[in-house]
Amino acid sequence: MTDSVAVSDDVQVAAIELRAESTSTRGQRWRRRYGLAAIGVAIIVAWMLVALLAPWIAPYRPDLVDVTQRLLPPSAAHWLGTDTLGRDVLSRLLYGARVSLFVSILVVLLGAAFGILVGGIAAYAGGWVEHALMRFTDLVLCFPPIILAMAIAAALGIGTVNTMIAMLVVWWPKFARLARGLVLVQRHQEYVEAAHVIGYGPGRVLLKHILPNALGPLIVLCTLDVGHAILVFAGLSFLGLGVVPPTAEWGAMVSEGRELVEQWWCATFAGLAIFTVVMGFNFLGDGVRDWLDPRARRR
């Protein structure tokens, strides 16, 4: 199977955009790019603070059920209204940030670590090792993420941890692919050959020389991917496969409110929250990519 089996879309786009951007006027591009990235950082920082400080800033407890207060529209007492069980939507939103951000960042970091290891070793070792590792990666990539996550969740049972495991299984291959490509490029560079001639061993060359130069696009992918992970986890929770009720989680909140066309606040704000966070990571990811562009530093 060729590389057409998902080098991650983001990555391919990023790679091509990287090559293309070098011909634009730098002034305009700089301002526009870093402007958006700054907004992205602001959004993310804001949500991170929310997640950290939720227990202190939430007006109510997220699981406080009060059936007499159910389905109230936004008011002074409940800024974003209440849901079917009378729970305060705002508080659930704030607590939901904790789950989403925590799970997504963890999945991405762990998936990236494993994927980079696999891909890096594959590219450096070459030969049958590379072949075997890459075919294995291809295999995992055959399965659509949501479906495989569903299958694993069905086999293992519902719950946050199980869903995370399911996501991890499908998450690492794109990093492996990218890492392999990047390390492969670096491996044939002359400074790596120089390192060999000086006598450094393969481990040292891979870790101290190649990887720092290959990390750039990987960091970009990580950043962009957190947004993607949030979407997938919310999707799984929406389907009922993610968190266990009554945990507050954005996808689950949308699911609970989806039939309620009249009481639109139940589902809308949660979705809006997802949207803004993911946008923030996408903005930041774009900015990080531009910042790490070696051509911007080189003459």
Partner: protein
């Protein structure tokens, strides 16, 4: 050319076999009594059914023999019986597939039809308002959770404005057209039933728009990026130096090259669309494979889940194979020795 095709074909088949192994292993990993998992409570209480099941799938045999039986059954089209529907999984697939294919294909066509021209224009008129809006729209599309978008769309257009029809492929009072392909659009045209065609079409609009949002964003971005890169190439400059009009340069020199990576991603996107309709179908009550898979997951209908997982993996492989082949047709360098 033949060598290239056969090479890809062989790789795909091998991977497909491995996929079956993976599916089989997942199924065997299920904790608890496999009989219960495969048959469900009701059936498992009947000893004849249990015995028959045992015999059919060879549950007392070692694992690799079970796998062999599994493979054989697979080649006969036997994916097991779905617990929830009680029918062979294959029959379920046959029933629900057309709805998903119809939805996914329309969404795909929309993404390409809008995304590609948008991306091209954005690249040619770089830094114009078209470019900025293209970048913005693609960003929004890629960042939106599809289930939320679906909810908003339904709420606004169906709930408040009342201009879109409700969930489902048709209104509750309508009858589906005579089943030829399974696609309501095509079948109603074949039957000459203009009314049903209009209803089916109206019902398709919202879900396909929602479904295509993310893909649209991606296609726009990749087309734009690829076009930008191609426009900076030497041979484009040579074409201008020959005295070609700018439009001719773009259409005859830049486009063919720029579209090559777009083809790859488009193929992948189509595969993603076909296999990723779960959320959209759930919200729009679309009777397709996505919703079927979801229901099976919820009710722990293991045969159905395994069957669907395998099906989707095969779909992926086939589409990737087709993409590889189209690559060979489009880019002469691929076949070079």
């Amino acid at each position: 050319m033949f060598r290239y095709v056969s090479n890809r074909l062989i790789t795909s088949v091998v991977l497909a076999l491995f996929a079956t192994l993976v599916v089989f292993l997942i199924a065997s990993v299920v904790p608890g009594d496999p009989i219960l998992a495969m048959l469900g409570d009701l059936a498992a209480s009947k000893p004849e059914i249990v015995a028959e099941y045992r015999a059919r799938w060879g549950l007392d045999l070692p694992l690799w023999q079970q796998y062999w039986i599994f493979l054989q059954r697979l080649f006969h089209g036997d994916l097991g019986i779905s617990i929830s529907t009680g029918r062979p999984v294959l029959a379920d697939i046959a029933q629900y597939a057309p709805a998903t294919v119809e939805l996914g294909t329309i969404a795909f066509v929309l993404s390409i039809a809008i995304g590609v021209p948008f991306g091209i224009v954005a690249a040619v008129w770089r830094d114009s308002w078209v470019d900025h809006s293209a970048r913005f729209i693609s960003l929004v599309g890629v960042s939106s959770p599809v289930f939320w978008l679906a909810f908003i769309a339904l709420t606004i257009f169906y709930g408040w404005l009342q201009i879109a029809p409700g969930p489902g492929r048709l209104d509750p009072i309508d009858f589906p057209p005579a089943n030829v392909t399974g696609s309501f659009l095509i079948d109603s045209l074949i039957a000459g039933d203009w009314e049903t065609f209009k209803t089916a079409f109206a019902h398709l609009i919202l879900p396909s728009l929602v479904l295509c949002a993310a893909t649209l964003g991606l296609i726009t971005r990749i087309t734009r990026a690829s076009m930008l890169e191609t426009l900076g190439q030497d041979y484009v400059r040579v074409a201008r130096a020959k005295g070609m009009k700018e439009r001719a340069v773009i259409v005859r020199h830049a486009l063919p090259n720029a579209l090559i990576p777009v083809i790859t991603l488009a193929g992948l996107a189509y595969a993603n669309l076909l296999t990723g309709t779960v959320l959209t179908e759930t919200i729009f009550s679309w009777p397709g494979l996505g919703r079927y898979t979801f229901r099976s997951a919820l009710s722990l209908d293991l045969p159905a889940i395994m069957g669907m997982t395998l099906l989707f993996a095969i779909v992926y492989l086939i589409i990737n194979l087709l993409v590889d082949l189209s690559y060979a047709l489009v880019d002469p360098r691929v076949l070079k020795r």
